[in-house]
Symmetry: C2
């Protein structure tokens, strides 16, 4: 027994943006660097095999090395490196891109016996046919593993907790939460328990300047990101509606007011942002009269059979009013067992380090599963 | 691939109190009943092998069947049923007793290649030598698995989240929480954000009548249960103090006031409970003057190198003041990545169904790890 030493698992990391870089950094540091054998890194254009003949790749030197010695990205040759062979078990493909092309070949990758870990929401929040294709090729239908913990709530244990509830036979009644760090920040500032009269347009501009929004804030304010997360969650609940078209099947309230819907460019939209203030002022005023605050939430209500993204009003002593600060996510699960008081998970739901943590904790789960032998 | 079907794992369940009964109920229902093969159940005196020759055991009929057909409990013969053999892989031993004898043989059980799952806090909160003995016989030092998720926070994902943080290379700075459902209820009622003048003795009596306390409330008010949970958590943090004697090494404030420390029986203590009211009144008054409420908390402060159970005062807008209701647990993790805003997990931290869920989710993790083969 004393000689038991789990083998390192080969991994390839595709996508080296903010999150990819943080994954790289975690993979190259203890305790992860003894459990995984990073055999390749790639961005959208170039890839390089590791270890390097002339030295080590580090979180600070990888970019010039990739630019200087990288070869054009070729997914199929990466897959052949990860395939199970006579000499080694199967490897793990980490897709840290925002691509929607790569997720479309997950079924092929998984079919080759290669495990997939990804923070990319596209695969599990798009068409049901792709989702089912992935499911049919992975555990418990096949021995290959697919994990995407960080697609909802970054490093917060949201998907794993929901899986535990479902798999142990609990009955999900309602999942409700603030799923967007950007919209959390905006409404925490705009609609406070203690009141205030800051303009919606001002808050959006500050959020943009702080780097909390996408380059075009309409990408956050459209609610699409929240709809994708709801799709991912609801597909883990056997009694939820099927959402044939994925996030596009989720009724989603847009926060781009009608008066601004004809803005043709991001610049025009930002310039004219104050035109929407009256709409949001009225909303806040209405909530205040009811002793409530306004939050942008995602709701999966299994009794009503509804999945929707919308502006909701919450009493000033509700967790979504009192507990939320900054850009935190908060998600509550009301179930047969956790009722009337829900199970609540709260914390940073975005950011490179915590998103990478969701990815590397998935990697560790695969490592443990592949190295337990009796 | 389409013929992939994970094998059911043999399990034996020892301990049929409230939690054991709920585990039994979850094990006999879908989806768990297809993944596990329950080969034996036992209470502290009797055991019975399954399946029964004359029919099925159910959550309602097991007790008379056990009384009528059970044979005297013999742990060693149970272990021989779970040992890996030519025909089957190793099984899982579920210890749902409150015994401290059974945990002392966990190293022997694990050494036989039998996995252990338990809600029993004794094994991991007692002497460091036993803890180290268990560690040396389990993953990642050996391929045998040991899980005890429900020893802290019942079904809440507390231990698994802490493991994820540590294993992905985050740096734990502080863990702070309300870890006792009983003490949560007592202080949520006694010291409210909105004030109130209910007597401490009254709240304790109501808690006792509602069945929220142990038969002798001093077993909750001693703080020992919280000290055990802190021990379990701190042993997962590499930089925490070693706690040689387990929970006994944790400085623990007792809530049995000096004036009552000479009560010799539970009855005398309950009769004289009001004698302690002045002490708690003063405490609440003091907190109120500072704009705070009183909570009984466990704190692991890695900067200060301290692990302690104590009465703490928290501002009226702190999560421990506003978010807590009923007998909920709340646990916050402040780490390098989750700072300055902690990761918070909240919900029922006691109760048969949610505690059993912690156990059965551990069972599922073992099932998944043993049935992934590539």
């Amino acid at each position: 027994m004393s000689s038991f030493a789990p083998r390192p698992i080969p991994v390839a990391l595709i996508g080296l943006g903010g999150v990819g870089k943080a994954i790289l950094s975690q993979l190259l540091s203890p305790p992860l660097n003894t459990r995984f054998n990073l055999i390749l890194i790639a961005n959208s254009r170039l890839s390089i095999s590791l270890p390097l003949p002339g030295g080590q790749v580090t979180p600070t030197n990888y970019l010039p090395i990739l630019e200087q010695h990288g070869t054009p990205l070729d997914i199929q040759s990466i897959l052949s490196l990860l395939s199970p062979s006579e000499t080694s078990g199967s490897g793990i493909f980490i897709d840290s891109t925002g691509s929607d092309i790569i997720p479309s070949i997950y079924p092929q990758i998984l079919g080759m016996g290669i495990h997939v870990v990804t923070p990319n929401k596209k695969a599990t929040s798009s068409a049901l046919s792709l989702y089912n294709d992935i499911k049919s090729k992975t555990y418990p239908n096949a021995p290959t593993l697919f994990y995407g913990e960080s697609t909802v709530g970054a490093g917060l244990p949201i998907l794993s907790s929901l899986k535990d509830l479902v798999e142990t036979g609990d009955e999900i009644q309602k999942i409700e939460g603030v799923f967007s760090g950007t919209l959390s920040y905006i409404f925490n500032e705009f609609s406070k328990v203690e009141g205030g009269d800051v303009k919606f347009s001002e808050v959006v501009k500050v959020a943009k300047d702080l780097g909390y929004t996408e380059p075009d804030p309409r990408d956050d304010l459209s609610g699409t990101d929240v709809a994708r997360k709801l799709t991912i969650l609801s597909r883990l609940v056997p009694t939820a509606p099927p959402l044939e078209e994925g996030y596009a099947s989720v009724p989603t309230e847009s926060l781009v007011p009608d008066v601004l819907s004809n803005a043709s460019t991001k610049e025009e939209y930002l310039d004219r942002l104050a035109e929407g203030d009256e709409y949001f002022d009225k909303l806040r005023e209405e909530a205040k009269r009811e002793g409530k605050v306004v939050r942008y939430v995602g709701v999966i209500d299994l009794k009503e059979g509804k999945v929707e993204c919308k502006l909701g009003k919450y009493p000033t002593d509700h967790a979504f009013a009192t507990a939320l600060k900054g850009s935190d996510n908060i998600i509550s699960f009301t179930t047969k067992r956790y009722s009337p008081r829900p199970l609540i998970i709260q914390g940073a739901g975005a950011g490179a380090d915590v998103t990478a943590m969701g990815v590397t904790s998935d990697l560790l789960k695969i490592h443990e599963r592949l190295t337990t032998r009796l």
